[in-house]
């Protein structure tokens, strides 16, 4: 069986994105040939009107993420998660992804991560161990990766089952109807209003709107001004403590000065030292040549 012409394929050619270079081989792979026989979670309807127009209608089970897809593939094999070889479902997983892509379904990165893991596990399975004295350093990693994936699959399967159990519980419980909670109607408040109050309110709004234009208050302290002042001060008085710089200042002014100092340090106009955390900070003008060097490079 071949995946015949479909509008989606045209879309693929136009889009030009290609995740696997071996996509064509994957498409013709035997695992896809099992499509119609229920081995794969995809059914193809050839007898629909769409098929007669030359389009192929493919029905996909909707999977809830890569773990869900992988779990379904494993479950289809009727093997316990603890014993199934994840490499054995690798091809089917890839085939499904390539079908998703052919149908222009967006494949999330999460799917690709697991695909990569599966391919890695499988490649390690297929390759014979290297002859001594060489050792395969990644062999352990492959079995670790398989174990980790198996563990995730196992954890996911538990919550999938728990989710189904919750659904049953919810459905059973839906048969009971308690009194519905009171709706907002009971909370409606009534006011005594008439048109004149409304008109008065509107007039007030208009008056307020046409009143004086808004005034933006100038900042009491500006970082730029403080920067210029602090730089001049530090240059004139040499190394001094930050506490001296802000002696007698209000909290806001100290904060603005501190921000200004930070900016000056970032611009390498001022150097600083501090003996230990929370100790006073000593400020000094940065080495002259360094500043000039920066100025040249800028």
């Amino acid at each position: 069986m071949r995946l015949g012409p479909s509008p989606a394929q045209g879309g693929y050619a136009a889009g030009g994105k290609n995740v696997w270079s071996s996509r064509r081989r994957v498409r013709n792979h035997p695992s896809l040939c099992r499509l119609g026989k229920g081995r794969f979670p995809i059914a193809i309807q050839a007898s629909s009107p769409a098929a007669r127009r030359g389009a192929l209608l493919v029905q996909l089970d909707v999977f809830d993420g890569p773990l869900d897809l992988l779990l379904q593939l494993v479950v289809r094999q009727d093997i316990d998660i603890a014993r199934v070889s994840l490499a054995s479902v690798c091809e089917q997983y890839l085939a499904y992804l390539s079908l998703m892509e052919a149908l222009d379904i967006e494949i999330a990165g999460d799917y690709l991560v697991i695909a990569a893991t599966l391919v890695f596990i499988k490649s390690k399975r297929l390759l014979p161990p290297p002859p001594p004295p060489f050792t395969d350093e990644l062999a352990c990693e492959a079995s670790d990766a398989e174990e980790a994936l198996r563990e995730r699959l196992n954890a996911y399967s538990h919550f999938k089952a728990a989710g189904s159990a919750l659904r049953e519980r919810f459905d059973r419980n839906s048969a009971y109807y308690p009194r519905p909670p009171p709706d907002a109607v009971g909370l409606t408040q009534r006011y005594m209003l008439d048109a004149s109050t409304l008109a008065a309110a509107f007039r007030r709004v208009l008056e307020n709107a046409s009143a004086k234009p808004p005034v933006i208050k100038r900042d009491t302290y500006s970082v730029i001004v403080k920067m210029n002042w602090a730089l001049a001060f530090v240059r004139r008085h040499g190394p001094l403590a930050f506490s001296e710089l802000v002696a007698g200042c209000q909290t806001l002014e100290i904060i603005v000065t501190f921000v200004a100092i930070l900016e000056l340090i970032r611009q390498r106009k001022i150097s600083f030292s501090q003996s230990h955390a929370f100790a006073d900070i000593t400020l000094a003008p940065a080495a002259k040549n360094h500043t000039e060097h920066l100025a040249e490079s800028a």
Partner: protein
């Protein structure tokens, strides 16, 4: 008649009766309701009077309730929150292998889950847990009433999910 579960204590206060008297009366009502089209149930930490499930069709013809649908994704996510709460989004995502933002928002809108705090640690992620409405909607008296998960399923031991199949660990 209350729309939300009423606790024993509230009933004691309202009826000026002793706890055991209230309890006995409730048990009597619970036994009697079945033949009258209503049932008294113990859900969500209190008592709630509901229509009998046998009358479901009649009640629905009258109330015309909206069809409630819970997607597979919602249920799985809800199960993870219910069993592992308090749980972070990252923990849920690593268990489900997909982004759960949309599902979590839906579950919050439907008031099945709520934010119950923040985790101490990097980024202080939000912790989620189930609501009282969740208990009511699923006919549970408390979270302890959830059927236990089979052995080998992830559980929360001393704050972390064990075993840790988390992509986070990578």
């Amino acid at each position: 008649m209350a729309a939300e579960p009423t606790t024993d204590k509230q009933l004691c206060v309202a009826t000026l009766a002793l706890a055991h008297e209230v309890r006995a009366a409730l048990e009597e009502l619970r036994g009697a309701g079945g033949e009258r089209g209503f049932v008294l149930r113990e859900v969500g930490g209190g008592w709630l009077l509901s229509s009998h499930p046998d009358c479901r069709d009649d009640v629905e013809r009258f109330l015309l309730p909206p069809k409630t649908f819970l997607s597979q994704a919602s249920l799985e996510t809800l199960a993870i929150v219910a069993y592992l709460q308090p749980v972070t989004r990252a923990e849920i995502e690593s268990l489900r292998g997909v982004n759960v933002d949309g599902v979590m928002n839906t579950l919050q809108q439907r008031q099945f889950i709520q934010e119950i705090g923040r985790k101490d640690g990097i980024g202080r992620p939000i912790l989620y847990g189930t609501t009282d409405f969740f208990l009511q909607a699923f006919g549970l008296q408390s979270i302890a009433g959830l059927p236990p998960l089979p052995e080998g399923a992830p559980t929360r031991i001393a704050g972390s999910v064990v075993p840790l199949p988390l992509a986070l660990a990578q």
